[in-house]
Structure formats: structure tokens, C-alpha cells
């Protein structure tokens, strides 16, 4: 099913989502990559983030007439954040993670525990993402972390399509695909063995 969620997103809404659902977000999201995760875990949240979505993204941003403007802002590889995402989720009540490539079992367990989902946004779709971002409402730690790693707070309208690939019920699309791929690899290896 497809639906538009407006922030703040409640725990109940997040728990109502399932793998395969396609959602669009309207409201506020903020970017956080490796360094921003570490900063927040150490120093706390720079803004109230109850019910917001965290976006694994290092955008291209340009300052024009003293105002920040997002040029291109697709997702970065989420797997890098696996080492601390469970602690992040337990400390900060975000309800949606936006990234690409999926995450591991620690994150999956934390999603179940806190009531949140991981959604997959198309890698490389930086221009499409920028079009759904109406405004940069704030930026934190820009001087210290630099453009890609800073926390950018973004006002978005129907940001997506975001496919739920890990839900709060312990389901992960990546596990399902992984099992299919393992099966298919047997056929592939047979074909290679029989080839000339």
C-alpha cells in the first residue's frame, strides 16, 4: 500500500507499517551520517526529534542570498551506521530511518523494541530528493563536521517513494532476498561448472 505520513510520526503509526509498504513523508526530516551519529550519541540531540525521520545522507548544499539550498540529496549506504544504530534508536525517538542498502540484525531488533521502520530510498536519486525538499530549516555542526556529515534539518513534501524494507515486526526484505539469492547461486554455480 502507498500512504503519506506527516511528522511527528507516532509509534503506533510506525508499528502499523509492514515490509513492502511504500510511504511518502511530509514534514521534517534530518540528515545524519557516521559522524553525526557519533556526535549525537555523545552530546545529545541538537533539536527535538520525537517522531521525525533520520536520513542517511550527505547532501550537496549551496548558499544563495544567505540561505541554504539543497542541490542534490540522495541516500548514502546505511550499513556503515549499523555499528551504532541500535543505541541511536534507543536514545532518540525517531520513527523512520531513510537510507539505502539496508541494515543488520541489531538494527532490526531495535526497530522492534522501540517501534520504528527502516525505509529504502533509491540510491542515486539525489535530484528527485532535492525536488521534495522545500527548505533547509536548520543546520548543526556544519563547521565541525563539514557539508556531507553535518546535521541538516529539512522541510519535505511527499518525500519518497520510501519502501519499508525492515519493519517493527522483525521482518527484513534483505533477509528474504538473501535467501532467494543463496538458492539461485546453486543454479548459477551449476551452470558455470557445465559451461565451456
Amino acid at each position: 500500500m502507498e500512504r503519506i505520513l506527516t511528522t511527528p510520526i507516532s509509534e503506533l503509526q510506525a508499528r502499523g507499517l509492514h515490509v513492502g509498504d511504500v510511504i511518502y513523508i511530509t514534514g521534517t526530516i534530518f540528515t545524519a551520517r557516521d559522524e553525526a551519529h557519533l556526535m549525537m550519541l555523545e552530546h545529545g540531540e541538537p533539536l527535538p526529534i520525537d517522531g521525525l525521520a533520520v536520513y542517511h545522507c550527505g547532501p550537496v548544499v549551496q548558499k544563495k542570498d544567505d540561505k541554504w539550498r539543497i542541490v542534490s540529496a540522495g541516500p548514502t549506504t546505511s550499513a556503515r551506521m549499523e555499528i551504532f544504530e541500535d543505541r541511536f534508536l534507543e536514545k532518540f525517538p525517531v520513527r523512520v530511518i531513510i537510507g539505502k542498502g539496508g541494515m543488520g540484525e541489531n538494527t532490526l531488533a531495535a526497530l522492534h523494541k522501540v517501534g520504528a521502520v527502516y525505509t529504502h530510498y533509491t540510491g542515486g536519486a539525489g535530484a528527485l530528493a532535492a525536488r521534495a525538499i522545500s527548505e533547509v530549516s536548520d543546520v548543526y555542526w556544519l563547521d565541525k563536521l563539514g557539508m556531507p556529515e553535518a546535521v541538516w534539518v529539512l522541510s519535505v513534501e511527499e518525500f519518497g517513494p520510501l519502501t519499508v524494507t525492515m519493519d517493527a515486526h522483525g521482518e527484513s526484505l534483505y533477509d528474504t532476498v538473501g535467501k532467494t539469492v543463496s538458492e539461485n547461486m546453486k543454479t548459477i554455480h551449476d551452470r558455470i561448472e557445465r559451461s565451456t
Binding site: 513492502g20 511504500v22 545522507c57 550527505g58 547532501p59 550537496v60 549551496q62 542541490v71 542534490s72 540529496a73 540522495g74 548514502t76 549506504t77 550499513a79 539505502k100 542498502g101 539496508g102 529504502h120 530510498y121 533509491t122 540510491g123 542515486g124 536519486a125 539525489g126 535530484a127 528527485l128 530528493a129 532535492a130 525536488r131 563539514g146 557539508m147 556531507p148 517513494p161 519502501t163 524494507t165 526484505l173 534483505y174 528474504t176 532476498v177 538473501g178 532467494t180 539469492v181 539461485n184 547461486m185 543454479t187 548459477i188 554455480h189 551452470r191 558455470i192 561448472e193 559451461s195
Partner: protein, 286 residues
């Protein structure tokens, strides 16, 4: 030869590569979309919408605008060679602020980022001297996510071409959704460690759907493409029939004791452009 004009055309070629996806790739993505359903189709639709948004707004398709890479095939009698390196570097600096591009050059020891996409050995320029008096510059800006899925296998020659197939398929399938599939798998076979990887990267300059001129190599390209697409990884690793759009192979003769196989993966946002400069300074961007 007017230096400003050369720089200006190089900047517009970088802009074209970053903002307009080549038609051969668009066609391949559209064809893939027709064959997919569900989550895989959602991904391909978003990619194609993104291609339109980037072209219409003249903005980079991906926020990772890559490491700027130039493959120069310069005629031995081309009169503009002496200033070409500095013109390329100037063009990268200008493109970074004008397009703009993400500052993507980081000092490996200090972490310092000069902010202009210029650094030690970067932009990467490969020089190849050819006959004649014309200069052809191929641009291949390449993102970090797909470049991280490059690999080198120094295989024992006894495994033969079957061993090459296993290495390539196992490696690419193992990368799953990380390199932003469906992309183009560049494979370099033979030479040495460095040459196999270089050949793999050069193979990415060929359009999607083009085959190696030698029949047996062309057949191997198609076989590897079909094997990888049997895996079920699909667009962005979400499951589906299209894991790669194509496989390109280049080869070199090898040492009797070595069978190097280089893999360089290019994401679906397969950014390319070409600048041709003739001996009279006439410049064309394609």
C-alpha cells in the same frame, strides 16, 4: 588554441555528465522497468524520475558527484598538449563551484578537504598517446559507493575461464545492493594487478549494449550478464530480474603464472561525456 574555450567546454562536459544520463543507459533502465514489478519497479521508476528531474533542473543526478576522472587519448601531433593538464584542473575547480559538485577530495592522513575536488593525483587523468593530431577526452566521474565495490583477484591460472566466471559472479552478487544496481560491471582480464583494474575501468567507457569486437569475449560478456541477473538481487538489492545492465570485458596478455581479474563497478547513474578537440582548436562535447 584558446585556453578559456577549452576550460569552458570541459566544464560543460562535466555538467553534462553529472546532469544528463546517456541515452543508452536510460533505454536500458526503461527496458528493465518493463520487466520488473513490485519493489524493483518502484526503484526503477524513481531512477527514471530522477533522471528527468536532474536534466530539467540541470542539477547533479546523484549527490555523490564522484571523483573527477579523465581518460585522455591525445594525438602525438596535437598542438594543445602542454596546457591540457592545467586546463583540466581549472575546469574541475570551476565546475565544483558552478554546477556545483560535492567537495569529494579528502587527504588520507589529515582528513582535510580542500573543497575544490583537486588534490594529490586528483582529478585522476589517464594519458594515452595515439596517432594523429586530435585529442579525445572521456569523462567518467565515479561515486564512492560503486567504486567501493571494485575488486582484484590474482587467480591461479589453472582455474581457467571458469574460475574467472566464478570470481566475477560471486563477487558481484556478494556486493548485493551496495553499488546501486542495476549498473555496469567492468572486467579486466590479464596484464598485471594494476593493468587488469585499469582495463576494467576503461571498459566502462563503452555504451551499454555494446559488445567486445572478438566473438568469444562478447559471448563471455553476455554469459556473465545473464548469470549475474539470475541471482535475484535486483534493482537496489530489493529483489528482481535486473542486477546489472551489462558486463564489459577488456583483456591483456598475461604472465604464465598469473591470471589477474579486475572488477570495477559503475552504478546505474553511469555518468559519461566526451570532449573532442581538433588541431585547429575546434571543440565538441558529446
Amino acid at each position: 588554441m584558446n585556453s578559456d574555450e577549452v576550460i569552458e567546454h570541459l566544464v560543460s562536459a562535466i555538467r553534462q555528465a553529472e546532469t544528463v544520463l546517456c541515452q543508452d543507459v536510460v533505454n536500458a533502465l526503461e527496458q528493465a522497468k518493463e520487466e520488473e514489478s513490485g519493489a524493483a519497479r518502484v526503484q526503477l521508476e524513481a531512477m527514471l524520475k530522477n533522471v528527468d528531474a536532474a536534466r530539467d533542473g540541470s542539477i547533479p543526478m546523484c549527490q555523490d558527484t564522484g571523483i573527477q576522472t579523465f581518460i585522455v587519448h591525445v594525438g602525438a601531433k596535437f598542438p594543445g598538449l602542454s596546457s591540457l593538464r592545467s586546463q583540466i584542473i581549472d575546469a574541475v575547480r570551476r565546475a565544483t563551484s558552478e554546477i556545483p559538485l560535492r567537495p569529494n577530495t579528502v587527504h588520507p592522513f589529515t582528513g582535510e578537504n580542500p573543497g575544490d575536488n583537486v588534490g594529490e593525483h586528483i582529478p585522476y587523468i589517464s594519458w594515452d598517446i595515439v596517432d594523429g593530431d586530435t585529442c579525445v577526452i572521456d569523462l567518467l566521474p565515479k561515486g564512492g559507493g560503486s567504486e567501493n565495490c571494485g575488486a582484484l583477484g590474482m587467480l591461479p591460472p589453472g582455474v581457467g575461464i571458469k574460475g574467472v566466471k566464478r570470481f566475477v559472479v560471486d563477487y558481484v552478487v556478494g556486493c548485493a545492493g551496495k553499488p546501486c544496481p542495476p549498473g555496469i560491471v567492468g572486467v579486466g582480464i590479464g596484464g598485471g594487478a594494476d593493468l587488469s583494474l585499469k582495463l576494467a575501468k576503461l571498459s566502462l567507457l563503452r555504451p551499454v549494449g555494446s559488445r567486445h569486437p572478438e566473438g568469444n569475449v562478447a559471448a563471455l560478456e553476455e554469459e556473465l550478464r545473464d548469470l549475474i541477473n539470475t541471482s535475484g538481487i535486483g534493482p537496489m538489492g530489493m529483489g528482481g530480474k535486473t542486477t546489472c545492465l551489462d558486463v564489459h570485458i577488456e583483456y591483456a596478455h598475461r604472465h604464465p603464472a598469473s591470471l589477474p581479474v579486475g572488477i570495477v563497478y559503475q552504478c546505474w547513474s553511469d555518468r559519461r561525456a566526451r570532449v573532442t578537440i581538433d588541431a585547429h582548436g575546434k571543440i565538441e562535447v558529446t
